[in-house]
């Protein structure tokens, strides 16, 4: 079988393609983006054999995937962890309707918040949805788990969550590929009423889902991804999941001397946990993200309860991602003593590229607001432009979650502060800004929405933006007065003009939109890439 060097994300994508995937839906978000980029670039997608689509947001992505599953085909939706908040509604309700063709939701968590606003743990969503979860520890497992997860999804008719973390999503290793499976044929469900979850059906479906929980535990017990290895030294037992298991193996150079339960599939395999509990007095739990397994083990009403150690007991830090050194220390192994750290380096935060259109917009906006009272506030959003928070711009006051710029601005305006301006990217606007703008229109809120239209989803690598070419139509369609949907070109020579336009619209007492439109430098450069000289 052939071998390919793949990122964890790419292994998921290749695994899906080889498992008969028919549709990949996603909204870009670090560290999940490369899953769908890989599918998009595959020969299968380019020949139209697989549908690969950048959806407006994660919710529409999961819904489209559910629709494809309804039609009997295998589909997946991919997103970063916070994207699952947006998609929580279809994800949780797809567990009630059940699936037909295999349905996988890929959620990539970002412990330590390398590119995120929190480090929530997607495994917890499977507690609400009551569905199985798979968590690979390496690229090969990521590849293998996708095919397994599709089978599991089809056998039990539930969506399956595949949880990744940054360090696996963005780590490359060779992966051995299998023979490709054919795609499912389109086929309508033989029991279509379960997809109409009116209360009587919903109650029945929910009861059936609850009844299957024991089956999911049995599946976990016989899963190839859950494995209890015995070790001679039972003074300590180890439970490790995902990438945490790698750090345990690293600490012992592959020869773990303790009983070692490696978790790759949830719900937890009760039988294997029980065996470990009877063998060990103390158990260290090593997991990336929340102390999820640890809390479960602490809550188990066993006859014989060992001491549970981990992130909650302080053996490992409660926040931030694990490192080999942290795990080695928790295992009582001496971490390598290297060269002392240097005190010279100062932080180097990311910054807007030189010549970035956002920089011109922020300069114009800051100057425009200079003539207004100091209570003027700029509510911003998620994207490259959030870097406008740093000097030399220091141009924004908030950044919370996708779309919050417009709706928070509305609320703040309702509270009577002002003037308030919202700053949102074109793709973020299509993702979650449109509905907020409708609120503002209906309420005639005195807010000015500056849409930074760089014609791409820039921060995640220049994917196609759902808003490109449609912003004016969307804004006027939602009811913004056409006279108050203005366009500016954020370049230095237009500065004075742009300041004037912004000032006029900020002064206007109703909802207004200023579209600052100029292509992202990175996407423009990428389009010309073959001419580039460096490696």
């Amino acid at each position: 079988m052939p071998t390919k060097l793949l990122l964890g994300d790419e292994a998921v994508a290749q695994g899906a393609i080889d498992a008969g995937l028919s549709g990949a839906y996603a909204y870009p978000g670090t560290p999940s983006t490369e899953i769908t980029e890989y599918v998009e670039k595959s020969p299968q997608a380019r020949e139209g054999l697989i549908r690969s689509f950048w959806s407006a947001n994660e919710k529409t992505a999961v819904e489209a995937a559910l629709g494809m599953s309804y039609a009997g085909k295998r589909a997946m939706a991919s997103m970063k962890h916070v994207g699952l908040n947006v998609a929580a509604d279809p994800f949780i309700n797809a567990a009630i309707t059940g699936t037909s063709g295999g349905l996988i939701v890929n959620a990539a968590d970002d412990p330590s918040m390398h590119s995120s606003q929190n480090e929530q743990d997607s495994r917890l969503y499977t507690e609400i949805a009551l569905v199985p979860c798979l968590e690979p520890s390496n690229q090969q497992e990521a590849y293998d788990m996708v095919s397994y997860a599709f089978d599991l999804s089809e056998r039990f008719r539930v969506p399956v969550l595949l949880r990744l973390v940054t360090r696996l999503a963005h780590s490359r290793a060779p992966v051995t590929l299998r023979t490709r499976r054919e795609q499912n044929r389109a086929r309508l469900p033989d029991d279509p009423e379960r997809f109409i979850i009116l209360p009587p059906t919903a109650r029945r479906q929910y009861a059936a889902l609850v009844a299957r929980q024991e089956d999911f535990v049995r599946e976990s017990e016989r899963s190839p991804f859950n494995h209890l290895a015995d070790g001679p030294d039972a003074s300590l037992g180890i439970v490790a999941s995902g990438i945490g298991a790698n750090y345990v193996l690293e600490a012992f150079a592959g020869e773990v001397p303790h009983p070692f339960l490696k978790i790759g599939q949830y719900p937890l395999p009760a039988l294997l946990v029980d065996r470990l509990f009877h063998r060990c007095e103390r158990i260290l739990v090593v997991e990336e993200g929340y102390p999820y397994i640890e809390a479960k083990l602490r809550g188990l009403p066993e006859r014989r309860s060992p001491q549970i150690l981990g992130r909650m007991s302080g053996e490992l830090p409660r926040t931030g991602e694990l490192t080999p050194a942290l795990v080695a220390r928790a295992l009582g192994r001496r971490a390598g003593a290297g060269i002392p750290p240097s005190s010279v380096p100062v932080p180097r935060p990311p910054s807007l590229c030189p010549g970035c259109p956002h920089a011109d917009t922020f300069r114009a906006l800051t100057e425009a607001l200079g003539t207004f009272p100091e209570t003027a506030r700029v509510f911003s959003d998620i994207g490259c432009y959030t870097l406008g928070a740093y000097p030399p711009f220091s141009a924004i006051h908030t950044c919370v979650e996708m779309g919050a710029s417009i709706t928070m601005a509305k609320g703040a305006a309702d509270a009577g502060i002002g003037p308030v301006v919202s700053v949102i990217g074109d793709s973020t606007f299509a993702h979650s800004g449109m509905t907020g703008l409708l609120d503002a229109v209906l309420d005639r809120s005195p807010i000015t929405v500056v849409i930074l239209d760089n014609l791409a989803v820039a921060m995640t690598g220049g994917q196609r933006s759902c808003a490109t070419g449609r912003l004016e139509a969307i804004c006027t369609g939602l009811g913004v007065e056409p006279a108050h949907v203005r366009e500016i070109v954020p370049v230095p020579k237009e500065h004075e003009k742009n300041v004037a336009v912004l000032r006029e619209e900020i002064r206007y007492a109703g909802p207004s939109v200023v579209i600052a439109r100029r292509e992202c430098l990175q996407t423009a450069r990428r389009a010309k890439r073959p001419a580039r000289e460096g490696a």
């Binding site: 060097l5 990122l7 670090t30 560290p31 983006t33 490369e34 390398h114 590119s115 360090r167 696996l168 963005h170 780590s171 490359r172 290793a173 060779p174 990438i243 790698n246 750090y247 193996l249 690293e250 592959g254 490192t323 080999p324 050194a325 080695a328 971490a335 390598g336 003593a337 290297g338 060269i339 002392p340 750290p341 240097s342 010279v344 380096p345 100062v346 932080p347 180097r348 935060p349 990311p350 910054s351 807007l352 590229c353 490259c384 870097l387 000097p391 921060m459 995640t460 690598g461 073959p530 580039r532 000289e533 460096g534 490696a535």
Partner: protein, 196 residues
């Protein structure tokens, strides 16, 4: 045989391309390999790293454990210094003299150089100048690759082969410039290593 390498630089310097070349050369020699990259926000001019590990035995952790790196290869001098604590006591810092001052409070260059020279094993390479000399300012990353080449434990032709494969399909002049950059880096590295 095992090598743990940290690549450090500033977003946009071509660090991932260097990592890919080393990784490809290691794979071609039949080594186990894991390579962590930084994508996303940090790539906008922020501090970026890659952890590259290859060995004749399975590699478990994707990250290089603190204090175990054999090599820190830095495309920017302050970024090299940022990761010296990952070096093992016998590890080497191979760094470009390039200074990218895109944030406030960039320390004085003498201070940085003094701190680099305090690292027991270090090699300083004037990569921007050598890249110009090689015929392409953008080949500074390959100059550094050349300077660090002796530390990978890989035969030179396997690295050269990986460079050739990376530039397959580009203009022949681009490949020539990068091969020249590799050679100049290699010579500079050998010089630098004997002097320090």
């Amino acid at each position: 045989m095992k090598r743990d390498v940290i690549l450090a630089g500033v977003g946009g310097q071509g660090l991932l391309s260097v990592a890919a070349v080393i990784g490809e050369a290691a794979i071609a020699r039949g080594f186990f390999l894991k390579q962590v990259e930084v994508h996303g926000m940090a790539q906008r001019g922020g501090s970026v790293t890659s952890h590259l590990r290859f060995s004749d035995r399975p590699v478990y952790s994707d990250l290089v454990p603190d204090g175990e790196a054999d090599l820190v290869l830095a495309l920017e001098i302050l970024e090299g210094l940022r990761y010296v604590h990952l070096l093992s006591p016998t590890g080497t810092l191979v760094t470009s003299t390039a200074a990218v001052k895109n944030m406030p409070g960039y320390p004085p260059e003498e201070t940085i150089r003094a701190a680099v020279c305090a690292v027991p094993r270090h090699v300083l390479v004037d990569a921007p100048r050598l890249a110009e000399k090689a015929g392409s300012a953008q080949s500074a990353n390959v100059v550094l690759l050349g300077a660090a080449a002796p530390f990978f434990g890989l035969p030179q032709d396997s690295l050269v082969g990986a460079i050739k494969r990376a530039f397959a399909g580009r203009a022949p002049a681009v490949l020539e410039a990068n091969l020249a950059a590799f050679r100049l880096g290699l010579e500079a590295g050998e010089d630098g290593a004997t002097k320090t």
